[in-house]
């Protein structure tokens, strides 16, 4: 089990330098990194058994919110509470990005007055929150999901439609 984890991190660190130049977009960098490299190399030890998709929850309107229903395929892999906590945190982060309030109105008005040229210099609030989300997902993957043989994909890479969870078959040392 530890060899499995160590290998993931080794490959991650090795490839940071490799990919830094090729993928300049910071938002997608980390996740594409995790995606391609970790998937490529994990395949040597573990194959992708299946993928689970957590769909969007539209009961509150068009805001970005994911269903917290626990998928049956993950029952043997992860704690229900842990999963729900991750999804709930993601939902809260997206709600914060799309929140209508004094701050967002101010940003909108300022942008309009400068004919939207201000966004050449600074990021929108939404983009800042998306970066936080990417960091959170990477952190969750490292701490919680990778040790369990799972991988979360940042929803922004799937057009904010689904949270894709890749389940890896544990071939290395026995099965859980």
């Amino acid at each position: 089990m530890t060899i499995y984890i160590v290998n993931i991190f080794l490959f991650l660190f090795k490839s940071i330098d490799e990919y830094r130049n090729e993928n300049p977009n910071p938002v997608f960098f980390l996740n594409s990194l995790l995606q391609t490299h970790s998937l490529q190399d994990l395949r040597q030890q573990a194959a992708i058994a299946s993928k689970v998709f957590v769909q969007r929850d539209y009961t509150s309107g068009t805001i970005c919110k994911f269903q917290t229903k626990f998928p049956t395929e993950l029952e043997t892999r992860i704690d229900k509470q842990q999963f729900e906590e991750t999804i709930q945190t993601l939902n809260n982060l997206y709600a914060e990005a799309e929140k209508l309030g004094g701050k967002s109105y101010l940003e909108g008005c300022l942008a309009c007055l400068t004919a939207y040229t201000i966004f050449l210099c600074m990021e929108t609030h939404y983009e800042k929150v998306l970066k936080n989300i990417a960091k959170y997902i990477q952190e969750q993957n490292e701490k919680v999901y990778a040790p369990l043989g799972l991988l979360l994909t940042d929803p922004i890479e799937r057009g904010l439609r689904v949270v894709e969870i890749t389940i890896f078959e544990d071939r290395s040392i026995g099965s859980r």
Partner: protein, 485 residues
């Protein structure tokens, strides 16, 4: 010329000749393999719909009218009244142009198509919910019912993008993309108007109406002042009044209409279909409205701007499956390495088809050749600008027809028929894009007796010189490839 299987894997696109044979893996940006019908400029920074002829007309009209105003009226007005007039006019003009470019060149809120795994997962879910169906039997249109703030809303399945469309999203048949909070496809702006560029579009028409009113008012002032010295008709000859006069009414009308839509938080689509009208039912209300007019306006204009979901300028990762747009409109997912292997065989087949197509072109009349029947539903016939059925309803053909004619009737009843007249004019004028060779567009395939402008466009599309050229070009390529095999 011939690509062997032992060559290093390289990214191949089916719409181009894979004869470059570069030894190194050249990084390509994702916009090059974008499956929708969009045009990209400045290396993916700018995107527009494929048919952008009317956009250039808009640009021309605005610039010519403003140019004439600044050249002929401003000197007189600045010296006789106040120099603030040209200054204000200038500021308004730059604002209008800025908003126009922003509305035209940005991503309206396109939803990326589903990855093959997602699509497969959805299919599985749908099959289990529908029960087992026999092979060959076409299941009924897929819908999901969702309760949003107490109102039941149906989510439709998009066969092209292979996703369940979020509420308020719609598939634009002209751009072949699902767009979030789809308002309409505006030919004048040369792009769809959706979640991400609605505010720019609104500010554009608002500032344009202010500019037109401004120019109109001061041109009249100029004419009056001059006619005190000369005759009225002579003075009139020196001013660009005519263009202003017609555009004032249509643009002001359109601004008024969109102001109403924003205050009630509806899209043009929903308003025309009467989705939230009380006529449908006593309990029918708009679940997306925030309650107050001010909140609705603020949310639409000053709310947070969501980022683009399609990563246009990202690089294609070597092992990530990318959608390869096939000429029949559907897409196939292959990794770039698989591309080169599949490329050869596919090219062989394609080239043969190109040659046959080219040979058969003069004989083509009303039967476009379908190369590979995709599950492309008809109902993409919303060529009546955006006053017709704005949502290409993914149901059977007949329902799209009443939509087209209903659109016309509904429009006749509307007070703001100015804007509709406006847009109706664009449909016959709108030069249809050259069909993606070798496919004359499938949407026109189902024989629709009514909509005259649909059939009107049909033969022109086939005899469109631009499409002939591209077809010709491809047949030549095909011949070259065949000879190399």
């Amino acid at each position: 010329m011939h690509l062997g299987a032992d060559e290093p894997p390289q990214e191949c696109q089916y719409t181009q000749i894979c004869t470059r044979g570069s030894p190194h893996m050249k990084k390509r940006r994702k916009w090059r393999v974008f499956p929708g019908r969009n045009k990209f400029f400045c290396d993916g920074r700018v995107m527009m719909a494929r048919q952008s002829g009317v956009f250039y007309l808009t640009l021309l009209l605005i610039m010519v009218t403003s140019g004439l105003f600044f050249a002929f009226d401003c000197p007189f007005l600045a010296s006789n009244l106040t120099p603030a007039i040209p200054v204000i006019g200038g500021v308004l003009f730059f604002f209008v142009m800025g908003m126009l470019f922003r509305a035209s060149f940005s991503d309206p809120g396109i939803l990326p198509r589903a990855t093959p795994d997602e699509a497969a997962d959805l299919e599985r879910q749908i099959d289990t919910s529908n029960g087992q169906t026999t092979a060959g039997y076409r299941p009924p249109p897929r819908t999901r019912e969702v309760l949003i703030n107490g109102q039941a809303v149906k989510l439709k399945y998009c066969f092209t993008c292979k996703i369940f469309r979020p509420p308020r999203a719609s598939h634009c048949s002209l751009c072949d993309n699902c767009v979030e909070r789809f308002d309409h496809h505006c030919p004048w702006v040369g792009n769809c108007v959706g979640k991400r560029n609605y505010r720019f579009f609104y500010l554009f028409i608002l500032s344009l109406s202010l500019l037109t009113l401004f120019i109109f008012a001061f041109v009249i002032t100029h004419v009056i002042l001059r006619s005190n010295r000369k005759g009225f008709l002579d003075a009139l000859k020196e001013s660009p009044v005519v263009v202003c006069f017609f555009s004032v009414w249509s643009i002001v009308g359109l601004s008024g209409f969109h102001t109403y839509l924003i205050s009630s938080n509806q899209t043009t689509n929903e308003d025309i279909k009467g989705s939230w009208s009380t006529k449908r039912g006593k309990d029918n209300y708009n679940p997306y409205s925030y309650g107050s007019i001010i909140t609705n306006c603020c949310a639409a204009l000053c709310g947070p701007l969501p980022p683009s979901l399609i990563d246009r300028r990202g690089y294609i990762q070597p092992d990530t499956p990318q959608p390869v747009p096939l000429s029949n409109g559907t897409s196939v997912y292959t990794t770039p390495q698989m591309h080169s292997h599949m490329c050869d065989q596919y090219q062989c087949i394609q080239s043969t088809k190109f040659v046959l197509q080219a040979a058969a072109t003069p004989l083509l009349h009303s039967e476009p050749v379908i190369l590979a029947g995709g599950p492309h539903l008809p109902g993409k016939t919303s060529l009546a600008g955006h006053c017709g059925p704005l949502v290409p309803v993914q149901t059977s053909i007949p329902s799209s027809m009443p939509g087209l004619s209903c659109g016309g009737e509904l429009l006749a009843l509307r007070d703001v028929d100015a804007h509709c007249r406006h847009h109706h004019f664009t449909s016959p004028d709108e030069t249809p894009s050259p069909p993606q060779p070798p496919m004359p567009p499938m949407p026109l395939m189902p024989p629709i007796p009514c909509a005259t402008h649909v059939s009107h466009i049909h033969p022109t599309q086939l005899y469109d010189p631009a499409s002939q050229d591209s077809l010709h070009e491809d047949s030549v390529r095909g011949l070259v490839k065949l000879s190399s095999v």
